[in-house]
Amino acid sequence: MNKIWVPIVVVFFALLPCVAGDFYINLGSQMMIAAIFALSLNLLVGYGGLTSLGHASFLGLAAYISAWLTTRAGFGNGTAALLSIAGTTVGAAFFGMIALRASGLGFLMITLALSQVLWGLAYRWVSVTNGDNGMAGLVRPMPFGISIDSATSFYWFALIVATVAFIMITVFVSSSFGASLKGTRDQSRRMAALGYNVWVIRWITFIYAGFWGGIAGLLYVYYNKYIHPSSLSITSSAEGLLGVIAGGSGTLVGPIVGSVLVTFLKNYASSYIDRWNMLLGFVFMFIVMVMPDGIVPGVRQLAARWKEPRK
């Protein structure tokens, strides 16, 4: 049953630029970026049982490093991209060492605090980050000499990166390591007794999540050609978390569905309703009340109930 709609979704996303205008194509690009971000966060939240409220750290870190390297240090986009992803991954390794001293609520608070530190830096370290004015005047890269300046070409670029991210993250959670990770989520004590180094498993996952969060950040800064401290804010982290939970944490498709919904409400509904945040709140409340596990598990349960004859 799952297999039927996979090609439909693929065809839909692939053909979107042929039928839609620039507004919707750009909306699609933003959805891809949000989806990669939510997918990476879901590794921690859904598969590791580690709820992070500071995942925007990695999005912002990658974006700022890339912006700084290209505008201030005179690096090309390619080198800057590699350095910013490397830097973000190292940053994730460092943050992970601090945050994974705790789990549960403690972990959530430390990740939040760490991201607030970065947010504060971006705001106050004006000589480097240009503070509240943000860093503008960025140009998009030319991967393999192909321009991605138009809405459509950027959309294709984002779609390819998102597809690679989805495949890599799917492989990750389906791997032996993924099985180990889910085990530490469900019974960490038992896993330790079985010979698993629970801390290192969580740390590697944290780094991997940071890596893909950084990829999302790079796309984000390419898309906007601008970066502002608000991308490091708690709102930015919370939107990602909202996408994961609304779509269904611990599922592969859930974070995509959730972040597509959040991006849609944020960009589309906000042009019709001033208080779109309130609308987002209502939609989220509705999801949590009707489908407490998120949209994807909720729909699956509905489908299962539909199939089974009632007793």
């Binding site: 990750f172 791997s175 099985a179 180990s180």
Partner: protein
């Protein structure tokens, strides 16, 4: 003497542990030979499970030493001890409820394999075949694809043992493997435990005397965290102090 020490599978030397001033393990010393079947007895609160938790490393002792095959493991983490051949089961069932029986046992196998770090490949067919074989040993092969949450309590107890057996441990700690079981189920588990190969040393906590005494060769009796008697099964049963602890004066 030193040479002989190295022959012990498990050696505990003057172990002490207190929880906020309450001593739960007091000067406990114990030696288990390879292949030995040891029963750990004692009333509730005697510190039996706490002793297990110190052997596996989930709790660190305040003082004393724990050795596995002559190697000092007192400071090692639980997962490091698992790799030295130590395995355990839990009094309160600690399985992965959403996963299948096969997956549960496979996790036991994977835990000791380098493949557990592989982020690109799923568990190999070899692990799955082996997991099903081990489930066959405890008579649950036909339920291999069922989630844990759907099987009966007695069957979960058997999965607990299967997970430990899958690791082919050199020292296996069984924490009340018969707790909460019916007579028929108890006999099944008893046979299972009796069939554990002699390469594995067993230390078992169990209150069901009929079954436990049949399995045990040696007995250690704990009371208020202290070793009261330590000896062969018959010697301990005949001892006056054992009766006092269990029946009162």
């Amino acid at each position: 003497m030193t040479a002989q020490n190295d022959n012990y599978a498990l050696e505990i030397v003057r172990l002490n542990k207190s929880f906020v001033g309450l001593p739960v393990t007091q000067d406990v010393s114990m030696t288990i030979r390879p292949g030995e079947r040891r029963l750990l007895l004692g009333p509730n609160g005697a510190g039996k499970t706490t002793l297990f938790n110190q052997i596996t490393g989930e709790i660190l002792p305040n003082s004393g030493q724990i050795k596995l095959f002559g190697q000092d493991v007192t400071k090692l983490k639980p997962h490091q001890r698992a790799h030295l051949g130590l395995s355990r089961t839990y009094q309160i069932i600690t399985l992965f409820p959403k996963d299948t029986l096969q997956h549960n046992v496979a996790l036991g196998l994977l835990g000791l394999m380098p493949a557990r770090w592989n982020i690109f490949r799923p568990m190999s067919q070899h692990i799955i075949v082996e997991a099903r074989r081990v489930l066959g040993l405890v008579g649950l092969e036909q339920l291999a694809d069922c989630p844990i949450s759907e099987i009966a309590y007695g069957e979960k107890r058997r999965v607990e043992i299967a997970m430990a057996l899958a690791q082919k441990p050199k020292v296996l700690l069984l924490d009340e493997p018969l707790a909460g079981l019916s007579t028929a189920e108890r006999n099944t588990i008893k046979t299972l435990i009796a069939d554990i190969p002699r390469e594995t040393s067993l230390v078992m906590i169990e209150h069901d005397m009929d079954t436990a005494l049949d399995l045990a060769e040696t007995i250690t009796l704990l009371h208020y965290g202290k070793v009261i008697i330590d000896g062969t099964r018959d010697a301990v049963i005949a001892d006056e102090r054992a009766r006092e602890v269990y029946l009162g004066r």
